[in-house]
């Protein structure tokens, strides 16, 4: 029995180090290769030893697919390909291919230079790893090999984020990566066609939340920023340099313009500035509005927002600063997690007096969005990853109720096996098909019809042809099997008259069949021949010779039993 097997090595009932193994139609595909933000030991990377104990990964995996550039989806890639060892193809979209190495390098720097980790992947490894990448276009069908094909769909989560369809023959799996079903200020909404996969593997970060309208959140955010600036205060917005930073920049830029505000806005130098260049060049991946107006005004060229310089820090007056995301161990992270007293270098203790607010602008689908995507793709079953177990449980029930499909939520290392029953494609000879289709034009076309033919199987080439053609192709002669039955009838009349009586009787009884009286005195019913002959001994008896071939077996047998009953007395 063919089956699809799915094992999360990461992101099973968890958020972080997304990595999912899928076996479909004899092919093995690894979806994402992420790191975990929450760990600094072995657990930060997926356990690749699970894939194969003592073989090479390249021999086992047919391809690796990376959904987008966030590190929890691609952070383990150089480790996986260069340190564990994988030389097969790695697929990702162009923007992901462009941005991913920059984030990997950034990650490496923090780990090695700041935290002093040894045995980490090197810059050269990142470069070597990226050489194995094959970039894909949206909706392009990439033929990984003769049987395995993959196709990317727009996911909207960050620039270049994609959902992937993995297909072997008539079996398919869709992996969403992270996605967003509502367009925001710089990206469009995720979209997929009704591709009816056997399995949809979806993220479920916001499995239980239905977020309030985006507008309200934006208004709230702008109000808080505005108030602080009005008071003459300084606003710090720690935000990840790629994606949300651009979203907030556009939001602030348009607000500043509308309100005619003068307070300066700064973003951290380095990444964000560079990131904005990527957004400018990959404008085709942003939302409709930005794409339409980019010639007049590129939304990623900001008037009010400038790169930050350390010298500005002590400038008086209000300002808004967007430093990079506060990773663990930084001052920023301590403040965000609610610490009110900070021990600075030189034992100096600093009291935190600033207000700390927390707002979510993350671009994941909420419960409503996830349901919407399931509805769009119409999968036969659903598998949840990238979320918390408790929340998944709730969503799983909801999906099972609403769509009546089974829903799974395996933990890391746990395998889900789905039996599939793929149909078998064969070639049907056009002659045979047309003969059948022509019958479909008859009045009772709606009624399903039986098709008869012979399936010729030669190597892996399967062809369905008419039986006649099959015989001919194989150089075989048909063997005709014919029956002739003698039916004795009591009838003193002449043979011709007997035949006439047989004809009128059958004509009246067999309304559905073509009954004919031929000039030579014989009667035919379809292709069955009936002849009347005199009995050699008894002149009061006539012998009916009913003759048919094996192909008319049913009707022939029926006719003889009918004639055996005798003919009705005709008024002569």
């Amino acid at each position: 029995m063919p089956e699809i097997r799915v094992t999360p090595l990461g992101a099973g009932q968890d958020v972080g180090r997304s990595c999912i193994l899928v076996s479909i139609g004899g092919k093995n595909v690894m979806l994402d290769c992420g790191m975990h933000m929450g760990f600094n030991d072995d657990r930060r990377f997926p356990d690749f030893s699970y894939i194969t104990r003592n073989g090479r990964l390249t021999d086992f995996l047919d391809c690796v697919i990376i959904s987008h550039f966030h590190l929890d989806h691609c952070g383990a890639l150089p480790y996986f390909s260069e340190m564990v060892g994988y030389d097969g193809p790695i697929y990702m979209t162009h923007p992901t291919q462009a941005i991913c190495p920059i984030l990997l390098e950034d990650y490496r720097k923090i780990a090695v230079d700041k935290k002093g980790e040894a045995n980490f992947f090197t810059s050269q490894m990142i470069k070597d790893c990226m050489k194995k990448v094959v970039a894909v276009h949206l909706h392009q069908t990439v033929q990984v090999d003769d049987e395995l094909e993959i196709k990317a769909y727009y996911a909207g989560h960050v620039l270049g984020a994609a959902m992937f369809q993995i297909k072997v023959g008539s079996e398919s799996v869709v992996y969403t990566g992270d996605y967003n079903m509502t367009p925001d200020r710089h990206l469009g909404a995720a979209w997929i066609d009704k591709c009816r996969p056997n399995l949809l593997i979806t993220e479920s970060t916001y499995a239980t939340t239905i977020r309030d309208s985006k507008r309200c959140r934006e208004r709230d955010f702008l109000k808080k920023v505005h108030e602080a600036v009005e008071r003459g205060g300084k606003v710090l917005i720690p935000v990840f340099a790629l994606g949300r930073a651009q979203e907030l920049c556009i939001l602030l830029e348009t607000f500043w313009e509308r309100m005619n505000l003068k307070a300066p806005i700064y973003f951290s130098t380095g990444l964000t500035e560079k990131a904005n260049h990527y957004y400018k060049l990959f404008i085709t991946w942003t939302n409709q509005k930005i794409r339409k107006t980019f010639v007049q005004r590129n939304m990623f060229e900001f008037k009010h927002i400038k790169a930050f310089d350390r010298a500005f820090a002590d400038n008086p007056g209000p300002m808004v600063i967007m430093p990079g995301y506060c990773v663990q161990g930084t001052v920023g992270h301590k403040i965000l997690s609610g610490q009110r007293k900070l021990e600075m270098e030189g034992r100096q203790v600093l009291e935190v007096k600033m207000q700390v607010e927390y707002m979510s602008f993350s671009a994941h689908a909420d419960a409503k969005g996830i349901m919407q995507l399931v509805g769009q793709a119409e999968p036969e079953s659903v598998l949840l990853v990238h979320g918390e177990a408790k929340k998944m449980e709730f969503l799983k029930q909801k999906i099972e109720q609403e769509f009546r499909v089974s829903c799974y939520m395996p933990a890391n290392g746990e395998t889900v096996t789905l039996p599939t029953s793929p149909s078998i494609p064969v070639g049907i000879s056009l002659g045979l098909l047309k003969r059948e289709m022509a019958q479909g034009l008859l009045p009772d076309a709606k009624k399903p019809r039986l098709l008869h033919g012979t399936l010729i199987m030669k190597d892996s080439n399967f062809r369905l042809v008419s039986s006649e053609q099959a015989l001919k192709e194989l150089g075989l002669a048909e063997h005709q099997l014919r029956f002739t039955c003698r039916v004795h009838l009591h009838d003193p009349r002449k043979e011709q008259e007997t035949a006439m009586r047989v004809y009128s009787h059958l004509k009246s009884v067999l309304k559905e069949h073509c009954v004919q009286h031929l000039p030579d005195g014989s009667v035919t019913v379809e292709s069955i021949l009936i002849q009347a002959a005199a009995h050699s001994e008894d002149p009061g008896t006539k012998v009916l010779l009913v003759s048919w071939t094996y192909q008319d077996e049913e009707l022939g047998s029926h006719l003889t039993s009918l004639l055996k009953k005798g003919l009705p007395q005709a008024a002569s």
Partner: protein, 625 residues
Amino acid sequence: MQCAQIQINYYYVGLWTGHDFHSQFPSFATCSKELKECSGHVFVDSVPEFCLPETELIDLSTVDVILISNYHCMMALPYITEHTGFTGTVYATEPTVQIGRLLMEELVNFIERVPKAQSASLWKNKDIQRLLPSPLKDAVEVSTWRRCYTMQEVNSALSKIQLVGYSQKIELFGAVQVTPLSSGYALGSSNWIIQSHYEKVSYVSGSSLLTTHPQPMDQASLKNSDVLVLTGLTQIPTANPDGMVGEFCSNLALTVRNGGNVLVPCYPSGVIYDLLECLYQYIDSAGLSNIPFYFISPVANSSLEFSQIFAEWLCHNKQTKVYLPEPPFPHAELIQTNKLKHYPSLHGDFSSDFRQPCVVFTGHPSLRFGDVVHFMELWGKSSLNTVIFTEPDFSYLEALAPYQPLAMKCIYCPIDTRLNFIQVSKLLKEVQPLHVVCPEQYTQPPPAQSHRMDLMIDCQPPAMSYRRAEVLALPFKRRYEKIEIMPELADSLVPMEIKPGISLATVSAVLHTKDNKHVLQPPPRPTQPTGGKKRKRASDDIPDCKVLKPLLSGSIPVEQFVQALEKHGFSDIKVEDTAKGHIVLLQEAETLIQIEEDSTHIICDNDEMLRVRLRDLVLKFLQKF
């Protein structure tokens, strides 16, 4: 003009649509009256008109799909989508649509800028046209020539296009799949694969094997084609594009150094990107850093901007630049350093910035409308100036005719990167289609160079050619179509090996056809007659179950057959030899069985039990099909 139409499975797929105004464009000069003479040439003075693809021959409302190959091949689209009853779908890549829009926008803008009261129509009278000098008298289908469309029509036409990406498989009506492939000629330019499960037609139009800015041509996917339709080859098979670019640069430098101006009539997208890139590398070494370059077109800015955002459609080198991230084309730097300036028209800012000597890129390359007309008049009288023709679509002599006599230098450097005949034979050797179909003119040397046997397509079997408005039957016979066998049915099949490696299974199944997809399902089980209850509804759903018996094959060995009869309790068996076989007599049952090589005939009394027993014994020796 490239336009072909292919019918597969009763669906029409149109492959359009350039509008062909190169050779047939009615020249006109700025004179009154309908016809005007100018240095020995006769011109028509009229609003420019355009020759469309053949629309008389087919009913466009029956065309299901139009596939656009590149932005030059879609200029007639508004005529088709807006005025013919066409209701199908148009497919094109995103760069094709965006740049195609720019080309149309420029055209509309040029034409609308100089409104003329009316189109000339008197000269189109066949009796008058016959008397006119060439090229007017040779113009074809002049009665179908049309005035330019409006921007509104352009927008409406473009809104009907479905965007597709390279290697995207698009299902049409469940019966046909179309796929665009990179053709290497322009941003987003495509060749198309049109295939069913057993037939493959490739439409190759406007392809290039040279390395310029677009993604390289995808040749591998063209393999295994039954038919390859080949069109859009280079217009100038004898000119080497690299050499032409070199000549372009040196002539430009020479003129400017002598204090003259250079005019380059061009389209606002395409080759101009490559020319600007060459100049970028050339100007410093040639000492031209102080010479201003002007690009004047209503869509100049858009064209330069758009070229920078199609990273995914560019060649590898340019893609790598985007990953840095840097703009893929160096004209961004030319603009930043003020070496290249662009203006929507020569009015406004341009007139105040204008410095001479300079280089001006502007349209339209036919020299019949657009800002180029102004520069021709401004610079034509001085021999210091040079006009350099780079676009291959128009005969430069015809283009210049109304401006004669001219003092300015004219250089002809046509840059056409499309396939030449050497590249075609290389391509065909690589791809090996079963048949090649192409326009007639590719199967013979050009009329002006009839001795050049190398300037034609040379392939085996010889290419099939077509002419305008000719219907050509493609040389393949469809024999098979795909059908799916449901797993339950597949499980019930009993294959038997007939010859080594070949197995057969007889199939009796219910055929379901929906959206041109065929599925075979297991036949329904015969409904059990449930105790007198008549369920009429259920019986309606049973298919015509007159179960057709399979065909039989094989032969019956008489001795073994007689043994089998004896084993089954028949006695008194007599065997007689006949000319063709044997007769087995069962005397007691008055039954006779004729056995020959390819037939068996059972003649018996009306004893059904007996007959069925004999039948089944015979069948044991035969194979069913």
